[in-house]
């Protein structure tokens, strides 16, 4: 059961990561909107370390305003960026 639905505002958690991660540093602590749901896949934190049949979680596409990612963003205010997260990386945001 997915915790988030399309249109929900979410903030990316900043979970400590050394050696490997699929959650880019530039997204951490940033808030965006869920724009699409993905199937349940094995999370990369398990696959990367040899647990191929590891824990499955729903994945989400989150859209950010570029101005929310980069304080000095020099492009147009309407520009956006989309990327994916497994559920553990997202907190609800008001």
């Amino acid at each position: 059961m997915s915790r988030f639905k399309i249109g929900d505002r979410v903030t990316v958690r900043d979970i400590p990561s050394i050696f490997h991660t699929r959650t880019q540093g530039y997204t951490r602590g940033r808030t965006g909107v869920v724009v699409a749901l993905r199937p349940e896949w094995v999370i990369p934190e398990d696959e990367a370390w040899g647990r191929y049949e590891g824990r499955r979680e729903p994945f989400y596409i989150v859209r950010f305003r570029q101005q929310d990612l980069w304080p000095d963003y020099g492009g147009a205010p309407l520009d956006t960026l989309e990327t994916e997260f497994s559920e553990r990386w997202l907190d609800p945001s008001s």
């Binding site: 050696f19 490997h20 540093g25 990369p44 696959e47 990367a48 370390w49 040899g50 191929y52």
Partner: protein, 143 residues
Amino acid sequence: MGTKSSSAYAALMECIRSHAPAEHGVANLPLSISQTRAEALLHVVHDVGGQPDGPIDKSLHKPAHWEKSTHCTAECLAWRGHWVSEERRRRENDLGETLYFGTPYYARWLLAAAKMLLDKGLITPDELFAKMEQVRAREEIAA
């Protein structure tokens, strides 16, 4: 690699000294480092999005046979259950910044695959080094 004369070995040392990290002043087993520098060093190697850089070099590259074959070997190892692509990417990060950025793209795949086979005991170091000597001798004869 291989037997080298002392002058060739000196030239090799000079080349090693010249590549990243260039500042041996800071990359020389420091006795202590700042929290900022520790966080920068521990930042995951492949997580480069947003780092400033110069113009894009749009040169195209026709892959060498070893590059194409490396792609297929890495994929066959995954196809037959010996690793998955996310493990490969983690092992590319494990190579460290100098090898990650200092070698051609498929050298990363290759070094990660070789270390995976050794780590899991699927091949032994003796077998690998003997095979490399055998391939080198064969190629030198062919050359």
